[in-house]
């Protein structure tokens, strides 16, 4: 046993994979410790269906575990009501966000804000079926901010000028907008993002392109399978 025991830490399971016959290795987003890896021993069997139910992604849970860093051991888990229930497309958006967090967060790197942003996002996701895209875009913006990659949206650094609604821009992820006649995003969309209002279809479309560009940059070429899956779902 260890000196470092954590009790009843608010958390979400991001991903779990089977380990040996009946155990799981979990990627867990905790409130105070950031993303941690937990070994959940002997939870996959008939007797422990309640525990494996708790350990489903998107459930707000309280986890207790011990161990220092690396792979720690889960000692207890309970649900922290109210439950969050995602269905249909919302479920797929949840997978997408989990995949982002899985790859962008470093293990054992505390970031309390991310837990809160994520929790709020899931709560909104289960209620706003019609606004999935807008919710995703604002989640992404907040996530970048929390990771220290906050976007600079209002200043054309190449010309040292403020972004203007009527003009078109290209975007460089770690620097910001550059005016260009062939740019994919309008000044209007950039300023709307800054003000956290996305209304028109065009603005949503451009914002999606922008986020894709930015996340591709930070994911360093890693392809997101949930993105592909969402596309396949819409095609079918």
């Amino acid at each position: 046993m260890s000196d470092h025991a954590i009790y009843l830490e608010p958390a979400f399971v991001l991903h779990s994979r089977a380990y040996r016959e009946s155990s799981l290795i979990l990627d867990v987003l905790t409130q105070r410790l950031g993303k941690v890896s937990l070994l959940a021993k002997a939870v996959k069997n008939k007797k422990n269906t309640e525990i494996s139910a708790c350990l489903q992604p998107f459930n707000p849970i309280l986890v207790s575990f011990y161990g220092n860093t690396g792979l720690r051991v889960l000692s207890d888990v309970e649900l922290e009501p109210p439950k969050i229930l995602l269905e249909g497309k919302a479920l797929y958006c949840g997978f997408y966000v989990n995949e982002l967090l899985k790859y962008l967060l470093h293990t054992d790197d505390p970031c309390p804000e991310i837990y809160l942003i994520y929790r709020r996002f899931l709560e909104q996701l289960q209620e706003n079926f019609d606004n999935l895209e807008t919710l995703l875009r604002f989640f992404e913006l907040q996530l970048l901010e929390a990771l220290g990659y906050g976007l600079q949206l209002t200043h054309d650094f190449s010309q040292d000028k403020a972004v203007v609604s009527e003009k078109k821009y290209h975007f460089i992820p770690d620097r910001g907008p550059v005016e260009s006649k062939q740019g994919f995003i309008s000044g209007d969309t950039l300023l709307s993002l800054q003000n956290k209002v996305l209304k028109s279809r065009q603005a949503l479309f451009e914002a999606k392109k922008l986020m894709r560009l930015v996340f591709d940059f930070y994911l360093q070429g890693r392809q997101l399978r949930s993105r592909t899956l969402i596309k396949q779902l819409y095609q079918s």
């Binding site: 269906t49 949840g94 949930s226 079918s236």
Partner: protein, 199 residues
């Protein structure tokens, strides 16, 4: 314990079985070699034969030694109702309840983007061919009640909708996280009868 040579290989080979650790693998190996060499020979032959001959059923992808499994080729089964399950073991579970007289489609997994499992890995192209042929009138989604099972049910439900096929989801009498394997026959019968149509 590290052993070299054939005996070590055998022990390690036995460790690939569920529930078998190095200790019991060692016991099994000694038992086969010391006490039951005929049994061992038979086991080895059978293993090789099954590996050579058992493959996926061409219609439902369950394990069978024929082109079509005994369910798909049974004249009494209703070919217009297809029950979608995650594993061949689930077919057995549902069969035990005797509430279902249609045929199956076995996914051998569930959609799980974070594990790199998409529609291609689950044979959904083959399923779509069957749905598009017009022979299927109803599908019953009996994937596990986990988030991945739900996501899979949603995806297949959308496929069914594309071909205007009725789709229903079994009503698990178990909490989220429940796997078909762990449900008793009574509960599962209820789940089948209480299935609800998805729109």
């Amino acid at each position: 314990m590290q052993r070299n040579g054939l005996l070590g290989q055998l022990i390690q080979g036995l460790c690939c079985l569920p529930g078998v650790g190095p200790k019991s693998a060692q016991r099994m190996a000694f038992h086969l070699l010391q006490r039951d060499r005929t049994g061992a020979e038979q086991l080895a032959k059978t293993l090789l034969q099954t590996l050579d001959n058992i493959d996926y059923c061409q219609q439902c992808r369950t394990l069978t030694e024929d082109k079509l499994c005994s369910i798909c080729s049974h004249p009494g089964r209703d070919q217009s109702t297809v029950c979608i399950v995650e594993s061949p073991a689930d077919v057995w579970v549902v069969e035990q309840t005797a509430v279902f007289n249609g045929v199956y489609f076995v996914l051998h997994g569930r959609l799980s983007p974070l594990d790199g499992i998409g529609p291609e890995e689950l044979g959904l192209e083959l399923l779509e061919q069957q749905l598009s042929s017009g022979a299927v009138k109803e599908i019953i989604l009996a994937t596990n009640s986990t988030v991945e099972g739900e996501a899979t049910a949603h995806f297949v439900g959308e496929l069914a909708r594309k071909y205007q096929i009725k789709a229903s989801r079994i009503a698990h009498g178990v909490p989220m996280g429940g796997e078909l394997e762990y449900i008793d026959a009574g509960t599962l019968s209820h789940a089948f009868n209480g299935r609800r149509e998805i729109d």
